[in-house]
Symmetry: C2
Amino acid sequence: MTRTVSDSDSVRRHNRGLVLSALRMQGAQSRTALATLTGLSHASITAIMSDLLVQGLVAELPAERPDGRSRGRPATFVNFERNAAHAALFEIDVNRARLSLVDYGGVLVDRIETDLAPTTFAKLAPSEFLSDRLTALLSRTPTAPATLRRVAISVQGILDREGKGLRWSPIQHLAGSAFADELAQICNLPVTLHKRGRLLAEGARWLDPALHEASVATVFIGSTVAMGVTFRGQIMGRGDEGATEFGHMNHMPNGALCRCGMRGCIEAYAADYAVLRNAYSVPETAQPAPAVPAQQYEALMHRAEGGDRAATYAFNIAGRAIGYGLSRMLAIYDPSHVLIVGPGARALELMRPEIDQAIKSSLVGKINGSPLIVGHRDETEPVFRGLLMKTLNDIDQSDFAPLPNSERIGATG
Amino acid sequence: MTRTVSDSDSVRRHNRGLVLSALRMQGAQSRTALATLTGLSHASITAIMSDLLVQGLVAELPAERPDGRSRGRPATFVNFERNAAHAALFEIDVNRARLSLVDYGGVLVDRIETDLAPTTFAKLAPSEFLSDRLTALLSRTPTAPATLRRVAISVQGILDREGKGLRWSPIQHLAGSAFADELAQICNLPVTLHKRGRLLAEGARWLDPALHEASVATVFIGSTVAMGVTFRGQIMGRGDEGATEFGHMNHMPNGALCRCGMRGCIEAYAADYAVLRNAYSVPETAQPAPAVPAQQYEALMHRAEGGDRAATYAFNIAGRAIGYGLSRMLAIYDPSHVLIVGPGARALELMRPEIDQAIKSSLVGKINGSPLIVGHRDETEPVFRGLLMKTLNDIDQSDFAPLPNSERIGATG
DNA sequence: GCATTATTTTCAATGCTCGAAAAAAGAAGT
DNA sequence: ACTTCTTTTTTCGAGCATTGAAAATAATGC
């Protein structure tokens, strides 16, 4: 038990949340449309909507449609009031950090990019770096600081069980620092930490409406291998924040050396550096290259597509590792779709035969059939999109779903 | 969106559910205790309770405690009315079927066991077999048929995505038959199908109150290898009914021959027949033994405990397969506890070193640390317990949570 | 027998939802 | 230009479940 709520105020709160997420998902809507989307009565929509309008969270759009051909009273559309809130979104990668300012309507307002060196965080405390970047960004948009409600950070690595810090990260000198909490102290705002793979799953939901309620595993293949999983539209993984660690799932006991220092990880067979290593017959126990230029990886794909034996072999190995990883995942959880994103998505067809075969060699894959495996171009946008939508959704539900203008809620008798 | 409810009746429904599950979990309680357990007000408990009493779902216990020393008005305890409902629970195993009649209080009323031959379901349609057994059971308890509300069936194998039928099963001639639906037709009752591994997880929740809200992977090791997983008290796996297929997760590409016909499954290294095969240096591609007598398996454990090389080796191999399986699972989902049950639980200490090492060789295992792995004696009871509690809970929530004595619910305006 | 103590019920108030009817705002027809 | 039609949105009256506080209940202790 334990959880339990007073349930009464929670109904209203829940319904507000329903309205907000309908708007979030479908964009500007008329009240009538919202009633059918949420299943609430028109009367309730009117009530909830007038609250939202008073609070300035949504605004009525100016009447449009001068193009005739609508019979009755024209609908007035409502949508998010863009200035109702802002969020700052960090995407921290191995060699780059990107900070985006977005408004409550989900529109990108401003953006700063910063290169990262392996030593950056050795010299400068991560929280200082972040607050510095944040200050720089905010100074350029005078109106934003007042309405900034969240700082969200995308990172790679393994989060602790509370999702508060990194236990391990491929980004040098980042693990072990409580930078999220520190930044929250400094800027006095909620700071949330998100595993990149998880945001991939969140982003995939918004890429294609058909996937929004489906069960999807989104696999990123590039300089790392990552995965995020949704189950009927819900993000899976431990906690709200933990996430799957597909890239470092073991593929072969005592196998190839991975960047993480362990051996036999899927990443050590399928990431760009692994393909490179195998294409050039470098021993699989050799230290992984620190970074692989995009052109070099692309060139390998071309060679393989052109029939080059060594390159083809390397992609076969990669496909095999991905395939067995998927087949092992299918044993625990089987999605209807697998989305391959990132630079490696372009090499999907080179890997597909081995992937298919690996899946077919497992009982679940054979019996239930393989999920639909599709590649998706967009390399980095799914992560940004995921971060954006997750953060806005969080503001909707946590900040704006309660607040019925007076403070005490519920029956007072 | 899409789901959405009218919310209003759903509040009442939800709170009734809260009361019922508090009772289910904690046993007989006073109203005051229920108020604190559910977080509802005393007034609401009174209202809900009087409904439940009128409907005959719960009953007040006769005042007890003649032993003095209680100051104020003595509490009257309420508990489930045992005859409010009955459920019939089938546990179908490879060589045995067990049918139990239980009442709404969770008490075992009657039980029939039947041996199964590999040809049983070739000669007799599964649904006929089941309805025959059911008739036999019900004929012995005249009062039960009237209040029978559910038939629940535990099976092994792979369920289809809807959880309506078996796609594959180690039980001969069972897959492909729509016996659940057919039985539902015959006896005109809801018939639910449950994967055994999943019930294991359900059962584990009830074994130890501390585990009820924890994240636990329960692994059965015996003639098969199965797993069920809970996440903060919620059963995981696809759908409500699908489940994890740990035993047939691939361990080694192209590895040992499994009973399922595939190669390299964990089961093919860790089930009793696999240990036997390895202990006697039978090639791992040899056809698995159809059944291993319990004594023979026990004897192997004794030999290994006594230091016998071949037996120790076999259990090491088993531990390795289990360990890598767990390590791979940890990448996707990491529970705080792993419960090992079944005959193989007795061999846990023989396997533990290899399990530990496999987990430590993966990044997540190394960084986050190994979950707490404990063995649990009870061989078969967790499954029964899981089937029992899941079915009763289902009756609570689905049948008894609505029904506010008149039919139309909600505001009527 | 009366005060004390703990459990349970009663009571009045509150706030949410809903359905139906009314109002609003144009388009179409004459 | 005015009425009729159509669709959207608001208003209104009612029902329900919840809650906190107060009252009732049922023993024990002195």
